[in-house]
Amino acid sequence: MTALNDTLDVPREAPKPRTFAGPFWEATREKKVLLQYDRRDGSYQFPPRPTGMRSGRRDLEWREVSGKGKIFTFTVARRAREPFRGHEPFLIAMVTLDEGVNVMANIVNCPLDDMAIGVRVKPFWAPLPDGTHLLMFEPDR
């Protein structure tokens, strides 16, 4: 069986968010998931954008969500660039949050045999150098 790396030892830099993505990263200091919510369209969106995906208007607010969801698809990264080189293999997945958006993230605490499309997951927070956290996921057993 393939032994997977949780990539927690990978030296990641602090995020440099775009000006319209700041609240998402700030909330990770308290391990909270914030999503943009388009008040005109009544829908969540991710990743953060400078405008509403359907409306084209900037009538957006940030709302806290649970961060729970399920695996949409995944891959096993067996080759990687720095700083991930030498930490392969590890999991990269798209996770569909319960609010209907897809998030790309590493999956931890999950042997490859337990990994499948549809598996329920919950947030796992990896510390970053500036006190923010990286949103990862682990199985919601």
Partner: protein, 387 residues
């Protein structure tokens, strides 16, 4: 065409500041919102985007695609005009050309830059750097796994495509020498995993090289006595297919929309295509294009592959120079390898790999890897010889 057949119906400007505390895409969002409010045009009606070049985005070869993604615009035409200070006026002229050619009906011309604020110059994929994402192989790993989940995936069928293209590279003296050795389906299946289930022999190898074409008006070509030439009879592109949706079926691509329009313009059906020269960054992309272009139904690509012969003597010759996967990918010029091979075949100059049926050729493009989708832009072109 006359220039005055097109009309500017609204304009917008942001406040000009010494140093912006807003990202360049945020300026674009303000301009977009302002134009929508002033004109009453719906965002979904915008089907074209022409940008001026940007110092902020100058390091990004996907500038127009990145902007379309950030503004969630679904487009049938987009480009960056990179003639420096002439770019905004040049953009309006090119918007008129696109409308005149029928490529788009409603075009956003956007000129935004944040050159003065140095910290806005970064244009990397700041959302994917944290996950160890190796770009295209990881993206196609995610895509392939999802395809397999929805429809099943017969890897021997994908191997058959890899073997056919490799056979063509062996016959192509211009192909990268390292790749001019025949392979078998077992070689394909046994090649090492890069990003499961993407294997080494699914993937392009980045190389160096170039290609080009010379184009003139058809009447001019006749007057000049060119007895052989190649003529486009259908072309369409789609950028950000289903752009306004958060979660898309990643097995459906922009080739679905672009293919329908290109085939309608050409007056042809997929069954009438004489040779097929799809953009090939990964083997599964070839199969997905067969589905999206209507050679078979979505999800039935593997069955179609097993039922047809893709060698240069077969019933649907495929990338007869080896494609990018077996001839080598010339960086962002790589699509020229597929296009020029199609033109070469229609000139009848394929040599040992010449196809019999030169009535037409189908060429495609794929460009850009967006966050968690399939690919950003899809292009479809149908060519015929005009002897």
């Amino acid at each position: 065409m006359a220039w005055h057949d097109c009309a500017v119906v609204a304009y917008a400007e942001t406040k000009i500041v010494e140093k912006s505390d807003r990202d360049v895409f945020e300026l674009g969002a303000e301009i977009l919102e302002s134009l929508l409010d002033r004109s009453g045009v719906e965002k979904a009606e915008i089907d074209g985007l022409v940008l001026s070049s940007s110092m902020t985005g100058a390091g990004n070869p996907f500038w127009s695609q990145a902007t379309a993604d950030q503004l969630a615009l679904e487009l049938d035409f987009c480009q960056t005009v990179d003639i420096g200070g002439c770019s905004p006026a040049g953009a309006l002229a090119r918007a008129c050309m696109a409308i005149d050619a029928g490529l788009a009906t409603t075009v956003l011309c956007l000129f935004a830059d944040t050159q003065a604020s140095a910290n806005n110059r970064r244009v990397t994929q700041d959302l994917t750097q944290f996950v160890g994402y190796l770009g295209p192989p990881a993206a196609f790993g995610l895509l392939s796994r999802r395809y397999e989940h929805q429809f099943g995936l017969d890897y021997t069928a994908l191997g058959k495509l890899a073997v056919a293209q490799r056979g063509h590279a062996v016959l192509n003296e211009l192909a990268c020498e390292k790749l001019r050795r025949p392979i078998t389906v077992d070689d394909y299946l046994g090649s090492r995993m890069i990003a499961d289930p993407i294997r080494l022999l699914d993937s392009v190898m980045v190389c160096d090289g170039g290609s080009g074409l010379l184009v003139m008006g058809r009447r001019n070509a006749e007057k000049r006595g060119f007895t052989r030439c190649v003529v486009p009879i259908g072309y369409a592109e789609r950028t950000n297919h289903r752009a306004s949706e958060n979660i898309v079926d990643v097995t459906e691509t922009g080739h679905l929309a672009a293919g329908r329009r290109a085939f309608a313009q050409a007056g042809l059906t997929p069954a009438q295509i004489a040779s097929f020269h799809p953009y090939d960054d990964f083997i599964i992309a070839i199969m997905m294009q067969l589905e999206m272009l209507g050679f078979c139904k979505q999800g039935q690509g593997c069955d179609f592959v097993k039922a047809h012969d893709f060698t240069h003597t077969g019933d649907l010759p495929l990338n007869t120079g080896g494609g990018q996967i077996s001839a080598g990918q010339c960086g962002l010029a790589g699509g020229g390898t597929n296009l020029v091979e199609a033109v070469r075949q229609l000139f009848g100059e394929g040599g040992p790999r010449q196809v019999k049926d030169t009535r037409n050729a189908l060429v495609t493009g794929i460009g850009g890897i967006p966050y968690g989708r399939n690919w950003t832009s899809s292009a479809v072109m149908i060519l015929t010889p005009d002897a």
